[in-house]
Structures are given as structure tokens and as C-alpha cells.
Symmetry: C2
Subunit: 458 residues, 2 copies
């Protein structure tokens, strides 16, 4: 009997699942039907800041596969159609056509929830005014670009200095805006420890971005037209024609919550290792709407990142297509850049480790991206956390010039393998003068961390 | 009682050992005396091609620590003094002062052998003629540079196309020479499988280097002045004022052999995990003169590489200084570049795997260094070998533009942790559009390799 697989959400996780399920099952065996409330499918949300900044010229460059391309592969799609209810008891979803306003129920045998994330909006007056932009979807990005003035004195405020905030601030500078970043933390990039975030602060100032750290937004001031015209804090008022939310995201799980599906501490859906929603044999969830197991802390986290969403989709599509696959978890790797400063982290920050009861030694070293004598050897700072007593690697943060970001992959693999920093000191990493000093910066950090562990004894 | 540690060889392994032993033991406890036959200590031999090519301007930039700097740290040094014999029975070495010609015996309590490597010289007439240059030591590099003509039509032949041959060919092009590379193998860079070496061949031709693959050198023709003036092969004659040996190296172990110390199949000293020469409690050896355990094949190999030499020295110095450290082995990581093509390998090539009885699946994928839509996304080819049945990663080769070389570190750590390619498919690698497609090229290769393993069954 032909089954129907219904997918809620047409971006990375949902459509990867659809494509993988289609590879394993023919249309005669499995009908696949995806609902997407926006205008686009399978796009790189992570690329939006580069499109807004003009580094990427064409919106369509961000689209990996259009609705028409999915339909050619016999994947059914209802675009501009928002799912408004899930009835797990009867196995059906209610969906509203956003053009016509009509609603109807569609039954499913198997269901995939891939509803993504929504930007955190500080609960202040005016936050929903026109001119205040999230940048989660391609539609969001298009709305922001449409609102940018092509010339004249133009001001933008970015609220928040996580990686989206940092990337958007640079994008708006590239568009000729005067940009102010209002940041609640002491340093930008709170995904790093503050001592490492300091270098990001300096790089942003170097771009001409006005950085205001340690501040709370109290409201959005609107003009007579109802549009945002300034952002206020306890300390002052920052005029802006454009306001961008870079305050992070929350899982978009209101539908799942209403259906009684299990949510975790961060509001994300809880799944098992096969990406099935816990307690539900025929419902899977993946991408930005789920919590993932952090292999270092042993606890769930919420991480909105396209690479995870794609892996989830692959696993879900394999399972929904009758195969077998699991997603074992993450170690928390993230890379970013501002100007030519590369920023990378994996594993736990100091406060993450403390929060789960881990004691640790933290070391920081300075090195270079190439042999010191080789031209353009750039400075690189590596911070490493090792567990007290066991010496197990807990986390690495790297900030530096060319070659800094992807070096964090060394630590990502070492975390996955649960290596100790002592074991890491012997890693056979690539060495040649154009690519590394004879002791790679990660090895230098591992040596220092191993020494700290040894010298501490118990 | 004060002991004496004697070290033969004043470059990376020897002087790292000296420095580390000095950190652990004061001059009152341990006298340290190193013999070096050349003019320099603690230099980057790997940097010589960049100095010859003019990328690095000053010879002294390659010197990490001069004899005077070592002496300041109370490490005794006899420069231009060649050890000519080791008497393990009586615990002494015989050394000749190369200036005065006088020889004398020096007793040791502990001995470190760090005699390095010498270039393989094809056994053909004229190979020892003036004008034929090895590039193992800083003295070699100086001799080569001194012999280069500053202008006019100038021709060079490089014999061999391993990484030294490739780097030296590019260096001589940078000096304005017309360069011919005579290479015995079907493709340059025989440390790669031939299918990957093909891209190196193309990049070298792109630099204007004349590549002659699959040829054997039959002799060096000398002029009336006795200097090399051409290199002959079965097929022809290649005039050259300068000939460079890029044919690889052999461990320099004639002293050790004469002393009856144990050598392996490649002529390198055999040590235990503490880097002690097997069967000798008080003799250590490290750097280019030893064989190292290959953790993937389980057999000894000879790999001349500064990063290993430094690690060996660190381990030896710790042990000779009364501490404890081991060198667990290597996985065979090497990176290099020619023009803007980055070249990397780790683990086993196809023929290495076959030679040790491993059956495998080999897959090759094409991807890019950044998200496809991001500017300057460069092509990258990744080849991956996975063991048949177990799916254990056996080796990775990467050739591509910016960002290709150090990606091999991902595989180096995975090899050390004995991961399967299936496990690798879930690795949490850094992703952002400027640094990687949403599926990192290494993950794409791992997925394809895992599929090959699965589909093959037994």
C-alpha cells in the first residue's frame, strides 16, 4: 500500500529528508508532500548575510533546489501554505493556503517536522514594528534588502552580537550604512569566552562599526508612519532606518507544543538517535526546531546551523524511506568571520563546563598560521579547555587570520573521539612552512594544556 | 654525580632534545654536549626551498636558535665537528674537528643520535660532480644559492618529483631558471596515488616547468671544469648549469650501522616508544635517521619531516632529563603546495594498503573550498580509502585550492582515533559559507566511502 510522507517546512532539513526518502522509495511506494509557508525551498539561510552585503550577487545563488526541481523528482510541494495544526491521534495536519486563506486537513502515515527557528525578539515596545528585521528565511532577507535605501546618509542598528549579528553588521557596512551594534554581553560573540570575544570587538571597531557592549534594549521608537526610527537603551537613543535582530533564535515549535509533542529546556523538539520525536514511531523532527545531544556535556542543546539540518534530513529521509541511520550528536563546532578575522569554537566554553559540573584547566597560546618566517604568517590565538584530572579535551576556541577557522576541525574530531590533551600532543598534523609552524598552534595549545593537567595532580 | 648527555646532530631532533633535557635538569646535574658537523643549529630544513626561491629573504630567518643562543642556555656545542665513531661498549664517541682535523674521544652517560638524512643519489656516473646539489641542510642550501647565476639564460634540472623536487622546481622558476623535472614515476608526487598526482603534473606544467615523467636518469655529463653540464636519460640529454636532487632521502645511519645498532628495512634506526634505540637503555634516536611506527599499517616507515623531528626531540629530552614521555607513531600526514595548488595526504595510498594485506574501497569526490555561491570557491578533489568490511578509514588525499591542505588534519585525527568512514559522516566540522560548503568535502567523501562499504557487503 502506498504511504504518504508529510513534511512541514521546505528548507534544509525538510527537503533533505524528502530527497533522501525519494532516493530510497519510488512514488508508487511513497507519496511525499511538503508544506512551505514561504516562497522558497532548500536555500542556504547561512548565506543571507553575504547576499545582503552584496558579496553574493543573486538571491537564487543561495537556492540549492527550487520547488520546480523538487517536483521534477516527484516530491509534492504546497508553497505559501502554512501548517496550522497537527493531529497526531488521527494522523493528519491542517494547512492554510496563505493566498486564498482556505484550510484543509491532509492525512499522513509518516510525518517530518522541520519548522526551523524564529528570531528571539526582546520583549520591548515596538519590537514588531515595520523596519525591524529578522534574517532567518530568504523571505526575511528579501524584505530587508527591499527596505535598504540605495544612497544618502543611512543608519542601521543591529541588536545582538552573536554570529548573525556580527555578520549582518558587516553586511550593512558593506551596503554603506553607519552601523551600531547593541550587545547585552560584555563582548561580542558570546559563543566564545569573553577573553576571546575581545578580539572580535576590536575587529568590528576596525570596520567602523559602533559597538555598544553591556547594554539592554528598552524599546523601538516608531515614527508617524509606524516604522522603526530609533532603538532606545537605558543609556541612550540610537536612530536607525533599519533594525536587524541578531539576538539569536528559538526553535519554532508552537505547532509541536500545541500537538503535545515533547519539548526540551530550550523549547526544541526532543528526538531519539534516529531523529524520531520521542514517543512517536512515525514522526521525525530535524533542523533548527530540535534540540541535539551535545557529546561533550552529555546534555541537550539548541544549535541552529545548516550543516546539522542537512545531516538530520539525511538521517530522517533514510529512516522514513525504510533504511536505517542515526545522528549521534554534536560537539558544538561553529566558525564565522568578520573582515579578515576568523572565529571558531567547538566543545564547551568555561561557563558551559561549569554549568555541567566539569572542572577544567584553561590555557591560551599565541602562534601563527604559517611558519614564522613565511610571508603573511598571521597571528592566531588558541584557547583550550581540558578536564581536570582526566585531561580530556573539553573545548577549543580559535581567533586569528587566514587558516584559523577550519583548524578547529582538529579539535572537533578529537572531541568526538574523546581524546585527552596529552594524546593530542602527538597528533600527526599537516606541516609545511606555507601552512603551519613546525608545531601547529593546536599542538602548542595541547602541550600547554597537558602540562597544566600534569602539574595540577589531583 | 653529574652525568653527560652527548648529542650527535645539531638540528631539530638533537637540539629539541637538548633544550628539553636542559629544562628538566640543571647544568650541575647534567652536562649537555652536542656535535654538529655543519655551520648551523636548529634550522628549518623544510624552509630551504622558500629561501632558495626568494620567498624567504634571509637565511637566518630559518634559524630558530643559533649556537650562541644554545650556549647561553648552557648547552655545550662543538660546531663543524663530525662524529666518526660510536663505541657503545665503553660509552664514548670519536669526533673530528673539521677545521683542524684532530680527532678525540668523548665519553657519554647518555647518547642521542640525531644524524638526519642524506639525499638518495641515483647510482649513475657523475652524480657526485660539483653542480649536483642536495638540499637537506642549510649548508646545502647556501651552496646551491651561491652557485646560482644572477642573470642570463639559465637552465636547471631537478631529478625526482617528490615534495622536495616539486618545491625546488618552483623555487628555481622563481629565480628565473628554465626548469626540467626528470621523474621516474608516471606522475609527480608519488606520495599520492597517480590519479591525484595528475593534478600536480598539470599545475607544474602551468608554471612553465618541463615535466618528463616515467624516465630514468642514466648519468650526469660534466664539462672540462668537472662541473655538471647536463643530465642524460635513455631518451635524451638535458643541459643544465644546476642539478638538484629531489629523489628523496635515506636515513643517515652509517655511524649507527658501524656501531652495530639495529636498523630497519629502510635503513633507519629502530627505537621503542620512548625513542630509545632498541636494546640500549641509554641511547635514544630521533628525527630523519629513525624509522617510525605507522599507526595505520602497523609497520615501520621512514618519514623525514621536521614536525616529527621536533616531537622526537621533545620526547627524547624529557626521557633523557629523567621524565617520561612517548612518541606513539605517525599516520603519514604530509602537506605541500605548488603555485596555488595545495597537496595533502595522510594514511595509506592504494599501493601501501595492498602491500600490508588490506583490502579497501577507494572513492574520489569533487567539491569546493567554500559554499559554491561564495566568491573564490576553489575546486577540491578528495580521495578516501576505507577498509573493506570494517569500514575503517585507511587514508585520505586532497588536492585543491586554498583550504585544501589543512583539511587533511580532519582525516589525520580520525585515523589516530581509528574511526570508520561511517562514523566520519557525522563529524561536527566547522561550517560557514566562507569556509566550507554545507557538507564539507571530507564529509562528502566519507558518505561516498561509507556507501561503498555498505553496498559491498562482505
Amino acid at each position: 500500500m502506498r504511504e504518504r510522507l508529510v513534511i512541514i517546512g521546505g528548507d534544509a532539513a525538510g527537503m533533505s529528508a524528502a530527497s533522501q526518502a525519494r532516493r530510497l522509495r519510488s512514488p508508487a511506494e511513497l507519496e511525499i508532500l511538503a508544506f512551505e509557508r514561504g516562497h522558497f525551498t532548500s536555500y542556504s539561510a547561512c548565506g543571507i548575510p553575504y547576499w545582503v552585503g552584496g558579496v553574493v550577487q543573486e538571491r537564487d545563488a543561495l537556492i540549492a533546489r527550487s520547488p520546480a526541481q523538487h517536483r521534477e523528482r516527484e516530491i509534492g510541494l504546497r508553497m505559501r501554505t502554512e501548517v496550522t495544526g497537527i493531529d497526531t491521534g488521527r494522523g493528519r495536519v491542517r494547512a492554510r493556503d496563505l493566498e486564498s486563506g482556505t484550510e484543509e486537513w491532509t492525512s499522513y502515515d509518516k510525518l517530518v517536522i522541520a519548522t526551523g527557528a524564529r528570531p528571539l525578539r526582546p520583549p520591548v515596545p515596538g519590537i514588531d514594528a515595520p523596519g525591524v528585521h529578522g534574517v532567518q528565511t530568504l523571505d526575511d532577507g528579501q524584505a530587508l534588502l527591499d527596505s535598504l535605501a540605495p544612497e544618502g546618509p543611512r543608519r542601521a542598528v543591529v541588536i545582538g552580537a552573536g554570529y548573525i549579528g556580527v555578520e549582518m553588521a558587516e553586511a550593512l557596512i558593506q551596503r554603506g550604512y553607519a552601523v551600531t551594534v547593541l550587545n547585552r554581553s560584555a563582548q561580542p560573540m558570546a559563543t566564545l569566552d569573553p577573553d576571546m570575544g575581545r578580539q572580535v570587538h576590536e575587529a568590528m571597531c576596525g570596520l567602523g562599526i559602533e559597538m555598544v557592549n553591556g547594554t539592554e534594549v528598552t524599546g523601538i521608537e516608531t515614527g508617524e508612519d509606524g516604522r522603526a526610527r530609533a532603538v532606545t537603551t537605558a543609556e541612550g537613543r540610537h536612530p536607525a532606518e533599519v533594525v536587524v535582530l541578531g539576538t539569536g533564535v528559538r526553535p519554532e515549535t508552537s505547532l509541536a507544543a500545541a500537538a503535545g509533542l515533547p519539548l526540551g529546556a530550550y523549547g526544541g523538539l526532543l528526538t531519539d538517535l534516529a531523529m524520531r520525536v520521542r514517543g512517536h514511531e512515525n514522526i521525525w523532527a530535524g533542523g533548527d526546531c530540535v534540540e541535539v545531544l551535545d557529546l561533550v556535556s552529555g546534555q541537550e542543546r539548541h544549535i541552529a546551523l545548516g550543516t546539522h539540518a542537512n545531516k538530520h534530513g539525511q538521517v530522517i529521509g533514510t529512516n522514513a524511506g525504510g533504511g536505517y541511520a542515526t545522528f549521534p550528536g554534536v560537539v558544538g563546532t561553529a566558525v564565522s568571520k568578520v573582515c579578515d578575522l576568523e572565529i571558531a569554537r567547538t566543545g564547551l566554553r568555561e561557563k558551559d563546563a561549569r554549568a555541567v559540573g566539569l572542572e577544567f584547566h584553561a590555557v591560551t597560546i599565541e602562534s601563527t598560521s604559517r611558519a614564522g618566517y613565511y610571508p603573511d604568517a598571521g597571528r592566531m590565538t588558541v584557547k583550550m579547555l581540558a578536564e581536570r584530572r582526566t585531561g580530556r579535551l573539553l573545548g577549543v576556541q580559535i581567533v586569528g587570520r587566514e587558516g584559523a577557522a577550519k583548524r578547529v576541525d582538529i579539535a572537533a574530531v578529537a572531541l568526538t573521539a574523546r581524546m585527552t590533551v596529552e594524546q593530542m600532543t602527538a597528533l600527526d598534523l599537516g606541516y609545511a612552512p606555507p601552512f603551519s609552524p613546525v608545531w601547529d598552534p593546536v599542538l602548542v595549545a595541547a602541550r600547554k594544556a597537558a602540562q597544566a593537567v600534569r602539574e595540577a595532580g589531583y
